[in-house]
Symmetry: C2
Subunit: 316 residues, 2 copies
């Protein structure tokens, strides 16, 4: 029995990342219905909007689903209250201290996973008593760790640091990628980019089309002095880069970023002024697919990879 599948009572240990402006009830319920774990991305929802998405998700699937909560969310007490009231049983927290909420949520019968970018933070998760850890590498889209540790290096390090159920994230978009991180010691995966560009994602068509045409090197980690974020190269990203190269301070960068940039880019499809968050692995993706097609392809790719390794190609 796989530990992640067993923990969350799902068929396949494939978690869909709870991404701002992409992960509403349509995406989350589709992933859960396909046997993975769908997550609502609360980071881009007002509390009452999240309540509505939870209700729609419950209407659309009888399978388990969860909510991703960035811990710097401004009205977090209200948000967590709604999660409890609505009977959500799984919460993924990120961008903050796991000690703040883990035991409070667990006391309500909620399973808690926390996202980290280093084994040092994985230790903190263990102290906080989380049920699972998501370890996310440098290649991931959006907010990212300061140490720039890639998935290849991060997963074995976190695996060594903790015995908790471990979900790998960053650079995984295929079944071959799933086999790779499981070989490195993960128990399951969190996939963001491929689901962000699926039919059920609420991202704008302009954003999806742009991302489905990227080449290697078309994303870059920027805003390192504020909060490192992987962005698609674009007029807005160029402006950030130019400011950073001439040594702009935190205040100037904060002003340049302003408010609502991610909504403008990802949800409204403004490719010039918006903040466009996506992972490096987007360059491997060329078409918008349904979640059901994606799950089926992931399972097939995984089997192909395992067969290849079993065939003993290695030792001759």
């Amino acid at each position: 029995m796989n530990r992640i599948a067993s923990l969350f009572e799902i068929n396949h240990p494939i978690v869909q990342g709870g991404m701002v402006w992409c992960s509403g009830w349509r995406l989350a319920s589709a992933v859960s219905n396909a046997g993975g774990l769908g997550l609502l991305g609360a980071g881009s929802m007002y509390p009452e909007v999240l309540r509505e998405h939870i209700r729609q998700c419950k209407a659309a699937t009888t399978r388990p689903f969860g909510v991703n909560v960035p811990l710097m969310y401004p009205e977090i007490e209200t948000l967590m209250q709604i999660i409890v009231e609505e009977g959500v049983k799984i919460v993924f927290t990120s961008a903050g201290n796991p000690k703040l909420w883990t035991s409070r949520l667990q006391a309500e019968g909620i399973k808690v996973a926390h996202v980290v970018s280093s084994s040092r933070f994985a230790h903190k998760c263990e102290e906080a008593g989380v049920d699972a850890i998501v370890a996310e590498g440098f290649e991931a889209g959006g907010h990212n760790g300061r140490e720039e540790t890639t998935t290849m290096c991060l997963i074995p390090a976190v695996r060594r640091a903790t015995s908790l159920p471990l979900i790998a994230a960053g650079g995984i978009a295929t079944g071959e990628g799933i086999a790779a991180v499981l070989a490195l010691g993960a128990d399951g995966v969190q996939i963001g980019t491929r689901f962000a560009l699926s039919k059920e994602s609420s991202a704008h068509a302009n954003f999806k089309q742009l991302c489905l045409n990227l080449n290697e090197g078309d994303t870059q980690l920027l805003l390192k002095t504020l909060s490192p974020t992987r962005l698609v190269k674009s007029p807005f990203a160029d402006a950030v880069k130019e400011a950073e190269q001439r040594g702009a301070g935190v205040e100037e960068l904060r002003a340049l970023l302003g408010r609502g940039r991610a909504k403008k880019g990802i949800f409204e499809g403004n490719l010039e002024e918006g903040e466009l968050e996506i992972g490096q692995i987007a360059s491997l993706l060329r078409q918008e697919e349904s979640v059901a097609e994606i799950l089926s392809d992931l399972l097939n790719g995984y089997q192909r990879a395992v067969e290849k390794l079993r065939a003993g190609v290695f030792v001759c």
Copy 2:
């Protein structure tokens, strides 16, 4: 039959990176004797020094070995002449255009592999007619690609771009890591960091000890405007970083770098003033081992990983 093992007539498709100041005849012959492919690192050798290392290597092993040649090597005609005269049968080229030397070397019965950091350069390798491609990700030590594509994202991209035998590099130091990149589509691996810190490496004891005590985040990609290079954080690296953050130009950086920095750091063990090149995966390594111990551990780790995947942990 594994394509890399078959191409180079070796037992295991494990190539030891030809690293400056680490990869002399002791390291290369030990790796070849253990069933992998040892490479002499010509980048840090005068032509006649390379000749001596080739002769010593031939005396120390009857197995195939090769030479790594950075194509910006100043006396490259002399160097290649020596390689041909001494009967070396395998050359790995890097840092330059593969069209320059591939067919000339092949005409002498030499197998040629070229190192790339993107699928665009992999296409150029195919046009140049190389026998194999090494694709090296962002997490690798030393000189690195501009696009910052990680091994997790690079290997599937290069696998899609070419049908040539493919060697993955960057972030691989364990058998589990080998299984991971083979799952992603590679046919073999090139391992640098773990061999750089082995007993047979000619790196200075100070350098090895420092690298065997690194934590995640203790290396960083610097010198991006010159030639991106992954360095250990150190007084010299701090000076580079400080210059870069205030927008120093190429000339100033070149002057700061000066000459002989890598020798000073890696070979002479000057940890303050030297340029200390090592991969991110160093943080996983804690002891100096012999090459024979490393090979045995790699093969065991690979088998463990394959067994784990075979056990069907994935679909529950």
